[in-house]
Amino acid sequence: MAIFVGLIVLAAVLVVLAYPLYLSRPRAVASSSGAVNDLLAQRDGLYATLRDLDLDFELGKLDGTDYHSRREKYLGRASLVLQQLDRARAATGQDGGMSDEIEREVAALRRAQGMATGPSTHTCPNCGRVYNEGDRFCGRCGHTLP
């Protein structure tokens, strides 16, 4: 009896293993999905750095000059990463195997395109935060923008 059940288990295992081999070809893995993940990891790291930087400045661990120069630097990197991410996603998007979450993210990025063009585009003269074209007041310090 046990041997009979064992044979059934073996048959079930063979079916499970062979199923993908006989199924229609799985969608090809987009070569750039790894690149997107790398960029996402870089982006998250930069976001975390910026978040900590803001907090450290707020708590008086950094002086203004250091804070502004570093913030500019990291914002520049983040903008660059977002642009690369946008391009990589556009390439991967053709794959059709993306999750809803990623698709939403790409859509959000596309909406944001043209605004994140670099760190030096528009920065608040008071606190250094990057702002969008048309903003009248700084979203961080409330300073009237030029």
């Binding site: 499970v16 993940n37 910026l50």
Partner: protein, 673 residues
């Protein structure tokens, strides 16, 4: 059922080999069907191992003494739940099976969770994972089989080791195994990154939680092990620098280093080789720990030849380490740091120092653990190093780590100026001096514990200070209540603030460790009925003793002792001694009185022995100050780690609405100034 289990184990070996090869060939040969088949292989393997475990548990429950595992580790007297089932990991082959089964479940979870998001890495992850599983399946099939039969089926089994007949032993080993085995997953991702050449931060980002989870389990396993030792072993302590304890502590320390250093890689693109190295070392130590506990090598350098598995394990560790280090070397040119450190006085540099100290502590313990082997090889004489070595070396390193833990919250990423750091230090240092004076007044007069308490005060001041000021900053901008501001801060940046909560919980634990180790006392006294002795303000009166009480597999002798403080009776303790005739082994059953105000101290009482007619009984009473802070700190450690592990609200929102970096980066909705 056992026949089915044996068949499933053989099929599992074949599936493991196939899956490892299919994973590798699928990705290298660009055959996604083969990769998908490998993914299914992981699922099939976990199902097969579950059948194997179920068949062994069935054999244990039905008392199938024809199996060596059942006959040698259980008996008809043993309660089915939990001890008959826990006999699974009392056996060598059973514990290897348990190892492999837990790893198969981890593998299943990883495949289900990460297959879609990490399609480039996952086939490599599967190949490495199933390569490791192949080793275990080989061992279980050919070297140490859980289905090994007895030559003659006995009528009854030999019973379970009395030391393992404790409720903590029903949960401590599985928790510890979840920790040990879980470190395999980050190792597989690290190897997948090296094999695939995808050496950026993807593998780090993917594995952070998969590292933190086993790290939590291992930490809890260590604490539960300590509690078990305290409740069962009857020597009044909870940590003895035993090789098996050390075996679990070492990967935990390296894992702790890794959890800190990944932050440097994520933020600064640095320490890439270091992080890969740490994961290799952590996994190597996990295998070494399994080898250590299963080979008996520490008792004698020659013991592993007597064991079924020792030589195999040693060979496997050598293969894993050589292969992974060689792989790391071949990728060195692609692992250069993206950015140099800006300043020596920066959080990233201090994290590096913290890493070196954690690794140093692990290596110091490793040297202590293998010293008997080294000494026997060199001098022919087995020399062991005892607690004084560990207390001095590891204790000094821990003190340095506490100092860093206190300074780091005051320093920002990228760098700080000495002047700013100096200004930030004033408040915490004043608090430290104040607490040190209070500790001195309360009776902490010896230099080492006083220094320890000063360090703890410093860490608490800077960490709680950072939490407070961050919450105040948010409160100023959002006009929330302070507690609400803190909760929002935590939910938006769980890593930073959850990490601080973990640090604070470790401080609670450290208060207990220092108090209990520095100020515990013990006193022995032989008493006739009605006689008393006094220790540390407690008066203990021997009232009664009863023998020959049946207790599971053993026979219990129990004494009744009245405890008085300031003339009033505060407790009745019943220390015991259980004799297990089957194993011819006596076990002490301590009785503990927890003195409640602020977890002041424990009175821990054991029976040392008695005269033939019970006229006189010898008692040993330990008084352990602040020991319950250890367990309470452990509980807080669990809670704070769970808080940290919980998905970050900010993280989810960033994923869902990725927009401009500055919008995502801010923790504050509307900073005021």
């Amino acid at each position: 059922m056992t026949t089915l289990g044996s068949i499933a184990l053989i099929i599992a070996l074949i599936v493991a080999v196939y899956t490892a090869l299919a994973g590798l060939l699928g990705v290298r040969g660009h055959v996604p069907e083969l990769s998908a088949s490998a993914r299914n292989g992981v699922v099939a393997f976990s199902a097969l191992m579950t059948i194997v475990v179920a068949s062994i548990v069935y054999a244990l429950i039905t008392r199938d003494f024809s199996l060596s595992l059942v006959a040698n580790h259980s008996s008809r007297d043993l309660p089915i739940f939990p001890y008959t089932i826990t006999a699974l990991w009392a056996d060598q082959s059973g514990s290897l099976l348990f190892w492999s089964w837990i790893l198969s479940l981890y593998g299943l979870a990883v495949v289900l969770k990460k297959w879609s998001a990490n399609r480039d890495l996952m086939p490599y992850v599967i190949a490495v994972l199933m390569g490791i599983q192949t080793f275990f399946a080989l061992m279980l099939n050919f070297v140490s089989s859980p289905f090994l039969k007895m030559d003659i089926t006995p009528v009854d089994g030999a019973g379970l080791n009395p030391l393992l007949q404790h409720p903590a032993m029903a949960i401590h080993p599985p928790i510890l195994y979840l920790g040990y085995v879980g470190f395999t997953i980050p190792f597989c991702f690290a190897m997948a990154a090296l094999l695939s050449g995808r050496l950026n931060d993807d593998w780090i980002r993917t594995t952070r939680r998969w590292t933190m989870l086993p790290w939590l389990f291992l930490g809890m396993g260590l604490l539960l092990g300590g509690r078990w030792a305290y409740d069962v072993l009857g020597w009044g302590g909870y940590w003895g620098w035993d090789p098996v304890e050390n075996a679990a502590l070492m990967p935990w320390l390296v894992g702790t280093a890794f959890l800190h250093s990944v932050m440097v890689q994520e933020r600064r693109g640095a320490l890439k080789v270091w992080n890969l190295g740490l994961i290799i070392i952590a996994f190597g130590l996990v295998l070494f720990g399994t080898f250590l506990t299963r080979s008996g090598v520490i008792q004698s350098v020659h013991a592993f030849t007597e064991s079924d598995v020792g030589a195999w394990f040693l060979s496997f560790i050598a293969v894993v380490l050589i292969a992974s280090v060689a792989l790391l070397f071949t990728r060195l040119d692609r692992l250069e740091s993206d950015h140099e450190f800006d300043s020596l006085l920066s959080r990233e540099v201090f994290f590096l120092v913290n890493n070196i100290l954690f690794l140093g502590a692990a290596m110091a313990i490793l040297i202590g653990v293998i010293w008997p082997i080294i000494s026997e090889l060199v001098t022919g004489e087995t020399l062991t190093v005892g607690p004084p070595y560990y207390n001095l070396v590891v204790g000094s390193i821990f003190a340095a780590l506490l100092l860093l833990m206190g300074i780091i919250p005051l320093i920002g990423w990228g760098g700080a100026t000495l002047a700013k750091l100096g200004r930030k230090l004033v408040g915490p240092l004043l608090f430290t001096v104040f607490i040190t004076i209070v500790a001195f007044i309360l009776g902490a007069r010896d230099a080492i514990p006083l220094f320890g308490y000063a360090l703890i005060a410093f860490v608490v001041a800077t960490t709680a200070g950072d939490l407070y000021w961050s919450s105040r900053a948010r409160q100023k901008n959002t006009h929330e209540r302070l507690f609400v501001a803190f909760a929002h801060l935590l939910s938006r940046n769980r890593r930073r603030y959850g990490g601080y909560l973990i640090h604070l919980s470790v401080m609670v634990l450290a208060i207990g460790v220092i108090g209990s180790r520095a100020y515990s006392t013990d006193e022995t006294s032989a008493l006739a009925k009605g006689q008393s002795f006094t220790t540390q303000g407690y008066t203990l009166t021997f009232e009664e003793i009863t023998g020959n009480i049946p207790d599971g597999e053993g026979i219990l002798t129990s004494a009744t002792v009245g405890v008085y403080e300031g003339g009033s009776r505060i407790a009745t303790l019943q220390p015991g001694n259980v004799y297990y005739p089957r194993q011819q082994q006596p076990e002490t059953e301590p009785a503990i009185y927890h003195d409640p105000p602020l977890f002041r101290r424990d009175l821990y009482l054991i029976i040392n022995g008695w005269s033939n007619n019970f006229d006189t009984v010898s008692f040993r009473a330990y008084v352990n100050p602040m020991i319950n802070w250890v367990w309470f700190g452990g509980f807080l450690f669990l809670l704070s780690t769970l808080v940290t592990l919980w998905p970050d609200a900010k993280e989810s929102s960033v994923r869902a609405h990725a927009s401009l970096p500055e919008q995502s980066a801010f923790s504050y909705s509307r900073p005021g100034e």
